[in-house]
Amino acid sequence: MSADDGPGLYVESTIIMTTVRVVAPFVLTFALFIMFHGADTPGGGFQGGVIAGSVVMMLAFAYGIDSTRQWVDVRVVAALASGGVLVFAGIGLGAMALGGNFLQYNVYEPYYYEASKYGIELVELGIGGIVASVAIGLFFLIAAGFGHVTGEGER
C-alpha cells in the first residue's frame, strides 16, 4: 500500500504542476540564500534546511509522492544527514587538532581568509543538510504508512 493509492490524496492537476514547476527553483534559491547568507542576515542552517526540504514536498504535492520518492536518491538523503553531522563535528574536532578549543574557529585563521566567518557558514551548511534530509526522510516515511514491513518500494 502506498499513500498514492489512498482516495483523493493525490490529484493530478495541471495548475498545481505548472505552479510548482515555476515556483520550486525560486524556493530552492531562497532556501540556499537563507542557508549561505545566515551569517549576515536573518536565517541559517535550520531555517534554510527546512525550506529546502519543503521543495521536495512541493514536488511530491504536485507530481505524486511515489514518483517523487523514486526520483529522490536515498543515498543523497542519507549522505546529507550524516555528512552534515560529520562536517559540524569535523570542524569542531579539527580546531582541537590544531591546538585550539572545540569549535574555536580562529585557529583556522592562518590557513584561510576570514576563517571564523567561513567556518560558521560551513557549520550552517552542515545543519542545513541534516535538517533538509531529515525533513524529507520523515515526509516519505510517514507518507509510506505505518504498521507493516514492506519490501517493495524500497531500494
Binding site: A3, G6, L9, I34, G38, A39, D40, T41, P42, G43, G44, G45, F46, Q47, V50, I51, G53, S54, M57, R69, D73, V74, V77, A78, A81, G84, V85, F88, A89, G92, F102, L103, Y105, N106, E114, S116, K117, I120, V123, E124, I127, I130, V131, S133, V134, A135, I136, G137, L138, F139, F140, L141, I142, A143, A144, G145, F146, V149, E154, R155
Partner: protein, 179 residues
Amino acid sequence: MSLTLLEGALLLFVLACALGTALLKDTLAAVIAFAAYSLGISIIWLVLQAPDVGLTEAAVGAGIMTILFLLALANTVTPEVDTLFESVRWRTVFFVGGFVLVMAATVPSLPAIGDPTAPVVGGEVTQYYLENAKKETQVKNAVTAVLAAYRGFDTLGEAVVVFSAGVVALSVLRREVFA
C-alpha cells in the same frame, strides 16, 4: 507599554487559533487551526523584531509540521465526529482561563518593542554579544554568532538531535532507507 492595534489583533488571533486547536473535535480542523496559530506566532516574532525565530516558526510550525500531521491523518483512520467541539469541564475552563488572564495581565508591563532601556538590552551578556560578536566571529548577524560560535557546542547537540530523530523514525518504522 500600550498595545498597538496590530499587536492586539495578533494576540487575539493566536489565542483564538490556540482555542480552536484545543477544542475542535475534528482532527483535520484542529491541524489547520494549529497551522494558523503557528503563522500568527511567526508574525508576532517578526513584530518583536526576531526574524530568525519567525522564519523558523513559519517554516517548521506552519509548514513542515502541518504537512507531516496531514500525512499522518491521511494514513490513519479518522473517527466520525458528531459535535463540532470537545466537551470541556467547567473546572478546566476556570483554571486554564485563570492562567491565561494572569499571563495577559503581564502584557501591559512589558517594555515597548525596541526600547533601549529594556532590561534585556542593558544586560551585561547582551551588550557583550552586541559589541564583540562582529569582531570575534566575523559575522554580522549576532544571532548566528551566538548560535554557531559562542554556543556552538549546544548547536551541535541540536543538530544531532534532529539527526537522531531521523534515525529513530527509521528504527521505529523498521525501515532501512529514508525514501
